[in-house]
């Protein structure tokens, strides 16, 4: 039983498609750059779990990205410098913080939800920048030790690319299963009408809370991966002003769809990487694109594609 859009709804089909897209991208743009895209796509996937699938727009998801990056590094360093332990602790720390913040945040909705997350993000950014300065070294940032995972040498761009790609496919598979599960259906039901979900006897708040934490955890994983990819962690990983990036990517691709999220991540990265080289005023260009998207294609590229492929208007 599947309620997703017609084509490419099988779990494996998605993985194969995404694998193909990224191999093609790596061939066209070099694996060194595409490693960045992969991680950003994971971040968008995590964000979209909250926004697209549950209908709650957070404006403070950078908090979890930064938490994952910092705590992954700190705790990972305690147990050797294994990259896998950095990733694991990145996920766990952001997940726990998500549980903590989420217990307050999910009680609000709409504008209040967006802004209370922004508030927490601002507080986290401040904590990292000033009171925790002795540990985080503020704007100077921290170096991330990059070691091998078995035969994979993370200092080689091609190895790094495949290492991250495996994680993207893993996240994609888990999320794909999650969204088709009763839990995922409940998320969609909450997005469509929270009140009715409560009437059916479910405690909607509790499900939202868990989903918030999962979404935060995935953002933390992405943060730890960014740290591994760049070889350093700075407070800019948590900068509240950068929250719009992930919101934009999610909208460009089409919210509420896994492939849409991946597509949005890629397109946003391509725009911000390459348009800046061609057009000096790329922010203006991005602004115009976003306005066109909001008013003409509010369901994003994926929404447009899937509507086109089905040949009829489904809203």
């Amino acid at each position: 039983m599947r309620l997703n859009e017609g084509i490419l709804s099988g779990h494996w089909m998605k993985l194969v498609l995404v694998l193909g897209i990224f191999l093609l991208l790596a061939y066209l743009v070099t694996p060194f750059r595409v490693a960045d895209y992969i991680i950003f796509c994971i971040f968008v996937l995590g964000f979209d779990l909250l926004y697209g699938h549950m209908g709650k727009l957070s404006f403070g998801h950078m908090l979890y990205l930064g938490t994952g990056a910092y705590f992954g590094l700190f705790l990972g360093n305690l147990i050797g410098h294994n990259p896998l332990s950095i990733l694991l602790f990145g996920f766990l720390s952001a997940f726990l913080l998500g549980l903590l913040v989420g217990s307050i945040a999910v009680r609000t909705s709409e504008a209040a939800f967006a802004l209370i997350n922004l508030a927490f993000n601002q507080v986290g950014y401040f904590l990292v920048l000033v009171p925790l300065n002795p540990w985080t070294r503020g704007d100077d940032g921290l170096p991330v030790p990059i070691l091998n995972v078995g035969p994979i040498d993370l200092n080689v761009p091609v190895h790094r690319f495949f290492f991250f790609l495996v994680f993207l496919l893993l996240v994609l598979y888990v999320l794909s299963r999650l969204i088709d599960s009763p839990f995922g259906l409940l998320m969609h039901a909450i997005r469509d009408n929270e009140l009715r979900v409560n009437f059916l006897g479910y405690d909607a708040l509790r499900y939202q809370w868990v989903n918030f934490a999962i979404s935060a955890g995935i953002a933390g994983l992405a943060g730890a991966m960014f740290g591994l990819n760049y070889g350093y962690v700075t407070p800019s990983f948590m900068d509240p002003h950068r929250n719009v990036e992930v919101v934009f990517a999610s909208l460009i691709g089409g919210s509420g769809n896994l492939l849409g999220a991946v597509l949005g991540g890629i397109v946003y990265m391509l725009i911000s990487n390459f348009i800046a080289d061609i057009i000096v005023r790329w922010e203006l260009f991005l602004g115009v694109i976003l306005l066109i998207l909001v008013f003409r294609f509010p369901r994003g590229i994926w929404g447009f594609v899937s509507r086109f492929s089905q040949g009829r208007n489904r809203t």
Partner: protein, 277 residues
């Protein structure tokens, strides 16, 4: 200590000017309007270019800055905000942020990205209880209070204001009386833009003029509006003065915390408020 309070009042006054428009947009349309930061930055830029053209009078330059945002505000309202009726808050945030991106890039194109300093137009001091208060800041506070009374008058006594207040309470009710709420709202929106530009012009001599100057004060204004209550003007007034003083006092005790404390207050208010927004 009087100085600290007074500096807080200055910041609070500016925050109030910026928050009025936000609060009304919030209250009427349930929209988080990021493009407010654009008009806030445009006002000072007009002032700067007026000064660069050899204009002497600060007051005239400020007036030009405030008047210049009227057409800008109207265009934004007509082509972006008005079309966001009924769409989700997410799309509204993205659309207004996109407008801000476009506007900021145009500012960078015209005036460049480097910050431009603006000198204190008054320059003298007022002695009060043995503390030296810059006369300019006194003017800012007085002006903010004057604007507050003007706004109160506007919403209580004039027809436009009363229609908007009624629409805040019950929009469908006002609509069914045959009044097109949108038209009155666009007047109030442009007024809010002018006040934001005034806030920007007044704050310019205290900081510097740069393309992103609106963004940080906008985030603070969101905090003010959430604490004061959406669409509640008196609440906004007191919340902004409170936030300003809080920032100033906190900044005196421990400098770096000043920019963060409003968000802590906001999180507490949202978390412990009974009414669900």
């Amino acid at each position: 200590m009087i100085e600290v309070f007074f500096y807080g009042l200055t910041v609070g006054g500016i925050l109030y000017l910026v928050s009025i428009g936000l609060s009304l947009t919030f209250g009427i349309m349930k929209i988080v309007n990021f493009s407010h930061a654009l008009v806030y930055a445009l006002g000072p830029y007009i002032l700067v270019s007026y000064a660069l053209k050899g204009g002497e009078s600060y007051i005239l330059g400020s007036l030009l800055g405030v008047l210049f945002v009227i057409p800008i505000g109207y265009v934004v309202e007509r082509f972006v905000i008005r079309r966001l009726y009924g769409v989700g808050i997410d799309l509204a945030i993205i659309a207004t942020y996109a407008t801000l991106l476009i506007g900021v890039d145009v500012i960078k194109f015209i005036w460049g990205a480097t910050p431009i300093p603006v000198s204190d137009p008054v320059g003298s001091y007022l002695m009060l209880f043995h503390s030296r208060l810059p006369l300019y800041r006194v003017t800012v506070v007085l002006l903010a209070i004057a604007v507050h009374f003007f706004v109160l008058f506007f919403f209580r006594k004039t027809m436009v204001g009363r229609i908007v207040v009624a629409a805040l309470e019950d929009e469908d009710g006002v609509r069914s009386l045959g009044i097109s709420v949108g038209k009155y709202f666009s007047i109030v929106f442009v007024l809010g833009c002018c006040l934001a530009a005034l806030g920007g012009v007044l704050y310019a001599p205290i900081t510097a003029v740069h393309p992103y100057m609106g963004l940080s004060i906008l985030l603070l204004s969101f905090a003010v509006v959430m604490v004061g209550g959406m669409g509640n003007l008196a609440g906004t007034f007191y919340a902004s003065l409170f936030m300003g003083i809080l920032m100033s006092v906190a900044g005196r005790i421990w400098g770096p915390v000043a920019d963060t404390i409003p968000f802590i207050v906001m999180a507490l208010v949202i978390a412990f408020r009974r009414r669900k927004v």
